[in-house]
Symmetry: C2
Subunit: 360 residues, 2 copies
């Protein structure tokens, strides 16, 4: 289903998933005068706090899904692990953006790799792994070190294990639960970057400046803009993002992770949603990635991606959230907390955007 006409302020946006991304989408929607309805299974979902309407129900509660779909003018989601039958059902009942087809491609690491490689864009060497024997053969072909990942439902380093020089295939195969998997060749990279791109129903594309990302324990720790890469590499990365988002006939904001290896760009993966490495846009741009996503799915003109400041985004993880007063006292610092009660180790509790005057 396509959008018949742009949604005016006062329309209702259905958000599937109730975490911090849903919360920040709802806040951006609120700024533009939209109402939101959040659908999530957890009673204490952070996004519920910033919206008048929510539904607590499981992702397979089709009666609740049907009622939800009737109440909203468009449905979007804040996480890529929406079950595919759920996405298909929502799409049959309401306008869904991004589409279930885009979601499906992003959900399966092998489909994703084949799709990207099919566009002529470099990816890491990979092989499908459905058994320990497959794994053995794949290692023989791709070499060590390598990374074994479940095909589906991985995030923040979950569902993956490294194949080092001495890793036993049996242990690795057990480690990821003997689930359908992908073996990816290890990329020796100089930098990790990402591109936040948006595309509207009419095909217009807007791409933000490129952040350079640093991970700790597989969790994003900082995003720095501008990235320490050449202007040519940055423009190439943005062009790769444009190619992917257009080929998917995508509507909304997408985050595309890439490695820079020498002068070569290799796409790691894309997420069919707003992305942690795009949080810096909240304080360094007039239109944040969250507002951009709302604009895209509602058929609004996309906003300018112009950046008025240089910026470093720091994730606030686990117990670091106790330092809120310190963050609040920092100059030129945008403070964002997600309303999560329990500061579990490694849990994303908030982030700060530290600005400096723009240079270059």
């Amino acid at each position: 289903m396509r959008l018949a006409k742009p949604l005016a302020p006062g329309s209702t946006i259905g958000i599937f998933g109730g975490g911090q991304l849903g919360r920040m989408l709802a806040l951006a929607a609120g700024q533009l005068g939209f109402k939101c309805h959040i659908f999530a299974p957890e009673e204490d979902s952070p996004a519920f706090q910033v919206s008048a309407a929510h539904t607590v129900a499981g992702y397979h509660d089709f009666a609740a899904l049907e009622t939800f779909a009737k109440k909203v003018d468009v449905v979007t989601y804040e996480f890529e692990n929406v079950p595919s039958d759920t996405a298909a059902f929502l799409e049959s009942q309401a306008l869904l953006a991004p589409s279930s087809a885009a979601l499906r491609t992003a959900q399966d690491r092998i489909d994703e790799k084949i799709f990207i490689a099919g566009l002529g864009i470099p990816v890491a060497p990979f092989a499908a792994v459905n058994s320990e024997a497959d794994l053995h053969n794949a290692i023989a072909r791709i070499g060590r070190p390598a990374v074994l990942k479940t095909r589906r439902f991985g995030y923040d380093g979950k569902g993956q294990t490294k194949i080092a020089a001495d890793t036993s295939t049996g242990v690795a195969w057990a480690e990821i639960g003997k689930a359908p998997a992908i073996l990816e060749g290890f990329i020796s990279f100089n930098k990790e970057i990402s591109v936040i791109a948006a595309r509207g129903w009419g095909g217009v594309i807007a791409v933000y400046d490129v952040p350079e990302n640093h991970h700790e324990n597989h969790i994003l720790k900082t995003s720095t803009v501008p990235a320490g890469i050449s202007r040519a590499t940055a423009e190439e990365a943005r062009e790769v993002a444009r190619t992917i988002i257009a080929a998917l006939d995508y509507v909304g904001v997408m985050g595309i992770e890439m490695f820079v290896s020498g002068t070569k760009l290799i796409v790691n993966e894309f997420a069919p949603r707003v992305h942690n490495s795009g949080h810096w846009t909240q304080d360094a741009c007039v239109v944040s990635q969250f507002e951009q996503h709302i604009r895209a799915i509602c058929g609004w003109p996309l906003g300018s991606t112009e950046r008025h400041s240089n910026v470093v985004m720091h994730n606030i993880l686990g117990g670091e959230s106790a330092r809120w007063a310190e963050y609040g006292a920092s100059a030129r610092t945008g403070v964002h907390f997600y309303g999560k009660a329990e500061a579990r180790r490694g849990r994303k509790m908030g982030h700060i955007n530290v600005l400096t005057p723009r240079q270059g």
Copy 2:
């Protein structure tokens, strides 16, 4: 009552009043990880849309007020016409900021003028008017033209009438409903400006840059920053604001309206709340007036008032709201809508902040 210790993210802020200012306060509170509970008498209050919790009850429903006060960690308000007995009751049940004393001074145009004049700050010539005879005498003393205003409950030009050369005192007195009033001498001014100032529980003050304001039909139409005034006049205006906010032992954000007459500053009035002429801070500063108010009342460090861009704020009034797609298509433009269904003539439906690179 004073704040015992700063309120951590996750605390609940009670907001009294459900209009656009309450809505934008709630959105700012949500960014910092706070929960909100909105109290307003109208079922379809714009602020309800962006908060999980609200109470629909009258401002004199003391049972509802008591329940509300118990659920929140601090209470603030978005409008200056909170009945004084309601404010006093809330203050007895919860932490209220700004205080009922500050509210009381702001609610009565004569108390306000006496308070400001008592600080050695110029105000327009004024006289109390409680009868047509009073009005006659006041005009004899102050001269024509002048403005007759009700002492209490006026806003956006409501509750006031001009005394021109030929205005009959009887007609003017009837015009404002024969309510207790103030006659103010007409100020011949070059510009209207305002100052948005914030003060925390500990007495720290933060003041934003000075906007120049243009009104149409007594309703704010634009605020432009920087104002077309000298650096010395701007600094003097900020100092006047510091003097007033400190003298009131005020906690929160306040808007102080002033006239610039030649090189002289004359204070018109102050509003004990976030102010329409401070909306530009949402897109031209890292910390908006709304976040600043939340920081102040919650005992957080005040944020920097630094401005990274020049900006013009335009109010979107009545039927102009139909032009949302045009606003959305404008570059470097922050778009804000309030979720109001009915675009009545002159009603504040939203605003835009149009940025240009900072110069000076």
